[in-house]
């Protein structure tokens, strides 16, 4: 099952150098990279995620899609333990997340930190190594080399010693990506990495995502631009508090599911050069009777 969805073969996974020992080869092949069961999250009395299930095979690029307030960021934060779920189980490569933290990399929303913080680009990237570095140890030459390599990968070498407040939005995003790269994780969670970046940076990020996938890594991305979903991603989860659909893009990314996810607002379905020829339904009238599925 897993193999079928992983064109690059799972064989290179156990050798990818970031094994934490707790995973045996069998798990790496059979268990989904991320398995979420019955996840429910509430802020106060209001459920923001309701009974979410997800089983994502390794080596896939998955987009989390949904309107504002659908719980996309919350889903990532719940998996990463940044918000406490009301119910649900989360397995990373077949083991509880708490034991697998080192396998997971994180790219938070760019706006979640103060970019006037007194530190440099290289220093921020090095922060990705703090987890493996351990207590008491300070980043040294080895860590610097690793951080510089990650910066080179995102095309930011020239900015290593720049104070972070001098970066543009796209550069900030690249720095966060570089920080995640040094984590050398097997599963990455990225919260809107394309938000507010220029076309050049977007292309660079997409190339990076595909490179990560070609190394057998799994990447889960909160994404907004529906136009680019078939081009960028293998899997998609359509989310609006509940899971509307989740699976390979070719199977789940269709008008019916998008309508269920976004309600009547389907005017962005101008898919021109897509694998499955979409019927020309730009002027779809609002479909009120679907509204019942969707919480505001």
């Amino acid at each position: 099952m897993t193999d079928a969805h992983s064109p690059h073969g799972p064989d290179d996974l156990p050798r990818s150098g970031n094994q934490q020992g707790s995973i045996d080869a069998v798990d790496a092949v059979t268990a989904p990279a991320v398995e979420v069961t019955d996840l429910t999250v509430a802020y106060g009395e209001r459920p923001v995620l309701w009974d979410i299930d997800l089983a994502l095979p390794a080596g896939q690029l998955m987009a989390i899609l949904g309107p504002n307030g659908a719980g996309k960021t919350t889903l990532i934060k719940a998996i990463l333990g940044l918000v406490t779920p009301v119910a649900g189980q989360i397995l990373i490569h077949g083991q509880p997340y708490a034991q697998q933290r080192r396998l997971v990399g994180y790219v938070p929303q760019r706006g979640s930190v103060d970019w006037d913080f007194p530190t440099t680009v290289l220093d921020v990237v090095t922060m990705g190594l703090y987890g493996t570095l351990g207590w008491l140890r300070r980043p040294g030459r080895r860590e610097k080399v690793q951080a510089e390599a990650a910066l080179a990968k995102v095309g930011m070498s020239a900015f290593a010693n720049r104070q972070i407040s001098q970066l543009s939005g796209g550069q900030q995003q690249r720095v966060f990506l570089a920080r995640a790269l040094v984590q050398d994780a097997r599963i990455y969670f990225m919260d809107e990495p394309f938000q507010g970046v220029d076309a050049k940076t977007e292309r660079a990020i997409v190339a990076l995502l595909k490179e990560l996938r070609s190394q057998g890594r799994t990447v889960i991305v909160v994404h907004h631009d529906l136009q680019t979903v078939p081009e960028y991603f293998d899997w998609a989860m359509l989310l609006n508090i509940r899971r509307i659909a989740c699976g390979p893009v070719a199977e789940v990314f269709n008008d019916e599911n998008l309508r269920l996810t976004y309600g009547g607002r389907v005017e962005f379905l101008q898919r021109k050069s897509q694998p499955q020829p979409a019927p020309p339904e730009r002027d779809e009238p609002p479909v009120g009777h679907y509204g019942g599925h969707i919480q505001p």
Binding site: K77, L80, G81, L82, R101, R102, V104, G105, Y106, P108, S112, V113, D114, F117, P118, T119, T120, V124, M127, G128, Y130, G131, L133, W135, L136, R138, P139, N161, R162, Q163, S165, Q166, R179, Q183
Partner: protein, 382 residues
């Protein structure tokens, strides 16, 4: 001047006060950086005000006024207040600033109440407790210094040992969690360090003014550097320097209370830094803006002159009057800009009072029109 230096070494009281004030400035300055960067500046204010009931309760319960007992009471109460603020923010819909205000005033009011109870019930034995309100550096003795040095030393050592974790906690706590580091413990630890930094200063500066010793050195230090390490070091130095200056000043000028003087010293430093720091200072920012404005004005006038001259067969022999330039919507300060361009050798004034481009001016104007405005000087900071 030399007499002061001699006194600093030989006069026991001055030496003790100066050392104590410098030590408190060093520790609170360093810790204050983290409070300020985490946008928790007011947490320090709440903690210091909340320490008052702790001090009085510690005295009422033990009957002792030894520094360690009172500091312990202060620390416990300050710590409880900090936790209470976090709890209120977490469990209710009260916003952080309101929660801080609520906890601060409640604890402080309770402290004042306890103080009047102590005054009535304990009589002369409680004398001196009120020095914690506004501080009384002159009351520092050797044993106070030892307490301050030990506690402050522990705080600074822990800060150094956990440097990278605390830095990440201040910059991006979510990422800290994602790395699997114990964010809650680190948060509690940093708050505890803050509490200790505060309580060792209370006897000198007092609960009311203590938060200035946290915020002001950090705000001043941030102006001079873009690195956390240097910022913490500078803030510590600023704090220590202010402590020293305050102690010395109040020993020279009669009836000058030490605590408020220290606070005035540190605010002076902060004002100077806010105004005069090389990159972030208000004066530097203003000058940069002015320079940029003038550069753009110069470019605009040069471009206008070039557009006019380009209509002629010999562009460098085609004078135009200032009125034409004004009509083209040239910005304010035209005369100054023309004088500046003349100084650059790009423009010359003709005998009839009009202006023409020189050959160099024509070339510069063409470059400007084809390549866009002169770029601002690259200001790489490191």
């Amino acid at each position: 001047m030399t007499q002061i230096l001699i006194d600093l070494v030989t006069d026991y009281t001055l030496r003790t006060v100066a050392l104590g004030s410098a030590a408190l400035g060093l520790v609170s300055g360093a810790l204050g950086c983290f409070a300020v960067l985490r946008r928790q500046s007011l947490l320090g204010d709440a903690i210091s005000h909340a320490a008052l009931p702790g001090i009085v309760l510690a005295f009422l319960l033990t009957g002792s006024k030894t520094p360690l007992v009172l500091v312990l009471g202060a620390a416990l109460a300050g710590w409880a207040a900090a936790l209470l603020v976090m709890l209120v923010v977490k469990t209710t819909r009260i916003k952080p600033d309101a929660a801080l205000g609520l906890v601060l005033s409640t604890f402080f009011g309770f402290g004042l109440l306890l103080m009047s109870i102590a005054q009535r019930s304990a009589g002369a034995a409680q004398a001196g407790l009120d020095r914690f309100l506004f501080g009384q550096a002159a009351s520092l003795v050797g044993s106070d210094l030892v307490t301050m040095a030990v506690l402050g030393g522990v705080v600074l050592i822990l800060l150094l040992v956990l440097w990278k974790e605390l830095k990440l906690l201040a910059f991006d706590p979510d990422f800290l969690v994602a790395l699997g580091l114990p964010v809650r413990s680190l948060d509690v630890l940093l708050t505890t360090l803050l509490v200790v930094a505060i309580v060792i200063g209370l006897q000198t500066v007092g609960v009311v003014l203590m938060s200035a010793m946290l915020i002001a050195p950090a705000a001043a230090a941030r102006q001079w550097t873009d690195r956390l390490g240097r910022m913490v070091l500078l803030a510590g130095l600023f704090g220590a320097l202010s402590g020293l200056c305050g102690a010395v000043l109040s020993s020279i000028v009669p009836h000058l209370p030490t605590g408020p003087t220290i606070v005035l010293c540190v605010t002076t430093l902060t004002v100077v830094s806010l105004l005069g720091a090389p990159h972030r200072g208000l004066i530097a920012v203003w000058l940069r803006q002015q320079r940029g404005r003038r550069r753009l004005q110069r470019d605009a006038v040069l471009a206008d002159l070039y557009h006019l001259a380009a209509q002629h067969a010999q562009p460098d022999r085609a004078p135009h009057s200032a009125r034409v330039l004004r009509a083209m919507g040239t910005p304010a300060g035209l005369n100054r800009t023309l004088a500046h361009l003349t100084g650059e050798g790009l423009v010359r004034r003709t005998s009839d009072g009009r202006w023409r481009l020189t050959l160099a001016g024509v070339a510069a104007g063409r470059r400007l029109v084809t390549e866009g405005p002169t770029p601002a000087d690259r200001e790489d900071r490191s």
